[in-house]
């Protein structure tokens, strides 16, 4: 990093938040503007810039449900340690329009720098640059402003022009020349005006920056995904887009049918052939898939359902985040059959959980739900993925003798066989006998119920013995229970404030891993979740008797800010 400019105060990022331990070097970059101004892209470029410094990053993109205009922003927090959340207050904020300015002008850390477009913002405080005016000289003024973000960032952290150029050439390939030129104008303007700079320490190692949608796609692929079926619905769409873009590379076929009902039924059809299939949707779409979910339970199909949560009920708030569908996800589809639900606690863990659910669905021939949130699928961070950890066991295949699709076995799992085959393979949505023929006989009905219950018991045994169903981080009381993407917020809050507590995250929610949770009974407990009615709290209380002394809930569509969350936790910890 270059030295400081003349007369420019330089902060070494290792503090600035009152309660942050001295060795914490979080730096947060915020870029806000209209949809269409490329704030998300600018965030990605900034993240890559930090990553080139071998620093870790967490990027969160906030955008309403519209295509152009409105107010979008991207927050990128970076540290040399692992970082699990964006921070809501920025060390550097670049605000491209009046609305962003109005909303974010106070979202600064103590020494935070605010840069805004002086063409757009009237009477701004901070550093005004005539961004839009400068942009007017370019072919596409709307598109070009995006590069502002990185130019200002480079100036503020003292990266030299050569570095900036390399970055722009890599990241803004479309009309790179214009972008370079514009970036230089901005960089020069900014250098003239800034009065303080941040020196960012280099980190030790670096890993690729991936969004949850990507780690989920990769995890599923690692465990053998052949076909992915989806109808667009936020926040699951990024998985569809990722897999569609990487279809060749990953050997996966993506299919966008006419509606979610077709999605789920096609996936079951594909599973019948031995192809590993998965579907993705959000709450409303998952409602429509429930009949097929129950079909999967009955025919014993092996399909993973990705369920991405956003604030509900109904259409709700499509592009924001919530955890309001935990209870909804536990018993989908009519009737009794084994269901599996797991929710990853980080973007990294999403890779392993996606793979594991595919594996479990195939081992136990039953549908599984990968429950997550917009905050996980659409945020990104550095991930260190160990592909060697992925299990993708060959399913229990029929080998010899007469084939019976629903043969009674000790585990309740019947061997599989796929067409074309000399033996007849009948999957049946009606209650059926071992051969797969429809039956209404009392004893057959009872027997098949017991078969499916046995499978459920085998599943639980397997989870107990072979699967990490609960994560624990840290030591000491209280136990802070959380799940899904909120785990990242909690872990970051704990790191940020140096709190001493035990973070407990059930990864599996159905079957609920009480066997791993009973040991916390009697300890002081807090539950943190992103919903209004306390669904994890309800589950914990009902399944284990754990009764929290406090519950911290946020239900405004926005993920927790670790600083606020730390504050609330500190109050409880006392």
């Amino acid at each position: 990093m270059a030295g400081g400019l003349q007369g420019c105060k330089t902060f070494f990022i290792n503090g600035g938040y009152g309660i942050k331990p001295m060795n914490d070097d979080v730096f947060t970059y915020l870029i806000g503007g209209k949809a269409g101004q490329g704030t998300k892209k600018a965030g990605i470029v900034a993240a890559n810039f930090f990553s080139a410094l071998k620093r870790n990053v967490f990027q969160m993109n906030d955008y309403p449900s519209l295509i152009r205009g409105g107010h979008n922003f991207s927050l990128v927090s970076t540290a040399t340690r692992k970082i699990y959340s964006q921070y809501m207050k920025a060390d550097l904020a670049v605000l491209l329009d009046q609305r962003s300015y109005t909303i974010h002008r106070d979202h600064l850390t103590e020494n935070g720098v605010l840069v805004y477009d002086s063409t757009a913002v009237k009477q701004g405080q901070g550093i005004g640059l005539p961004i839009a005016s400068l942009a007017k000289n370019y072919a596409d003024p709307d598109l070009i402003v995006g590069v502002t973000g990185i130019a200002v960032l480079a100036a503020v952290v003292g990266a030299d022009r050569a570095k900036l150029d390399t970055l722009i050439q890599k990241e803004y390939r479309r009309s790179a020349e214009d972008n370079l030129k514009f970036a230089h104008e901005i960089y020069d303007e900014a250098e003239k005006k800034i009065t303080q700079r941040f020196e960012l320490r280099e980190g030790k190692e670096t890993h690729p920056i991936l969004a949850g949608a990507e780690t989920i796609g990769l995890g599923a692929s690692a465990a053998g995904l052949d076909l992915y079926f989806a109808y667009p619905m936020t926040p699951s769409t990024p998985i569809l887009h990722f897999l569609a873009a990487q279809a060749k590379q990953l050997g996966v076929v993506t299919v966008q049918p006419e509606n979610e009902i077709a999605v789920a039924n096609m996936a079951i059809g594909a599973a019948f052939t031995g192809a590993r299939s998965m579907v993705g949707t959000s709450g409303g779409g998952f409602c429509l898939m429930q009949e097929a979910f129950s079909l999967a339970g009955m025919v014993e199909a092996l399909v993973v359902f990705f369920l991405g949560q956003r604030p509900g009920p109904s259409t709700g708030v499509p592009t924001y985040s919530e955890q309001g569908e935990l209870l909804f996800s536990l018993y989908p589809g009519q009737g009794e059959f084994p269901r599996i639900v797991a929710s990853p606690g980080s973007i990294e863990e999403a890779f392993y959980v996606a793979a594991e659910l595919l594996d479990l669905a195939w081992r136990f021939q039953t549908p599984a739900i990968l429950l997550s949130e917009k905050h996980l699928t659409e945020s990104s961070m550095n991930v260190d993925l160990d592909i060697e950890k992925i299990r993708a066991a060959a399913p229990d295949m029929h080998t010899s003798g007469i084939y019976q699709r629903y043969r009674q076995t000790e585990t309740g799992v019947s061997p599989l066989l796929f067409p074309p085959s000399d033996a007849m393979i009948k999957w049946n949505s009606y209650e059926h006998d071992e051969q797969g023929y429809t039956s209404e006989e009392a004893d057959v009905i009872a027997r098949m119920h017991v078969k499916r219950r046995t499978k459920q018991e085998s599943l639980i045994r397997y989870l107990r013995e072979k699967v990490q169903t609960v994560n624990e981080y840290g030591t000491g009381d209280p136990c802070v229970f959380t799940f899904g993407s909120t785990t990242m917020s909690v872990r970051e809050a704990v790191l940020h404030a140096g709190l001493s507590c035990t973070v407990v995250q059930p990864i599996y929610l159905q079957p609920f891993p009480s066997w791993n949770l009973m040991k916390y009974v009697g300890r002081k407990a807090v539950v943190v979740e992103q919903n209004c009615t306390g669904q994890l709290e309800q589950l914990l209380r009902e399944k284990t008797g754990i009764t929290p002394i406090s519950s911290i809930r946020q239900f405004n569509g926005r993920p927790f800010n670790p600083v606020d969350l730390a504050e609330q936790l500190r109050k409880v910890i006392g």
Binding site: M266, G269, A270, A271, I387, I390, A392, P420, M424, N428
Partner: protein, 284 residues
Amino acid sequence: MADELTTPAENTWCPGCGNFGILNAFKKAIPKLEQHGIDRKHLVISAGIGCHGKIFDYVPLSGLYSLHGRSMATVQGIKLGNPDLKVLTFAGDGDAFGEGISHMIFAAKRNADITVIVHNNGTYALTTGQFSPTSGKGFKGPSLPSGNVEEPLNPLSLMLEAGASFVARGYAGRIDHLADLIVEAVLHEGFSYIDVLQPSVVFNNTYKEYNALVEIIEKPAGRLEDAVQLAKRFDRLPIGVLYKVSKPVYHKELYGKWNPAVNRLMHEERKRRIATYLSERLQK
């Protein structure tokens, strides 16, 4: 017809039901298809829920007994999973044109390489005879005892409009003719639709009318408009292939010669590719 194509499942259709004709035609079609090089193990079936669906239990072929209205999606999934398979589904008129109409239209639109045989009896039979999408106006059933107030859909012209590349009508009372239609439909590459006039002796006994009105047509109409005209005739009921055209099929357009179930990447290869992807992402 207790033969090697009979299964242990008890047949519970009403005596005289048109479904028997369809079953027998299908049983006749199977060996004929084998003569065309499509062996039994590559024939995979599905069915909706209704009287028609029971055919699933009555033939010893592999398949998936699907949901009411969804078997058209099921077989599209099977085809996408393993395009080497020849897939057929048996659907009801309620099934295909009520609950499942979206799948019918899109299967036709995208020319999915599947065969759909609709047992068109103009009623929801298994649920005791309510009016269905193809019931005539005035049809009396227990959910509207005063009579259906809607105009019926015309499955044939609707499928033509949606882009079906093979549209035929058969009659449960003309078994050999129907058997040949089934063979031709399965051999056709693309979306094949057979509307079968199927009397329900209990709820909609149309034998007499059909016997009087059906008329075999020897050749499909050359132009789509003419096929639509044929589909809309009611003075006579033309049976046979109304329309047939060659068009690209969905799975090939989507992934060419790939076969997801057969060509699936092995674990090591997957790991290699993911590692490549990750390292590319890092360099970026």
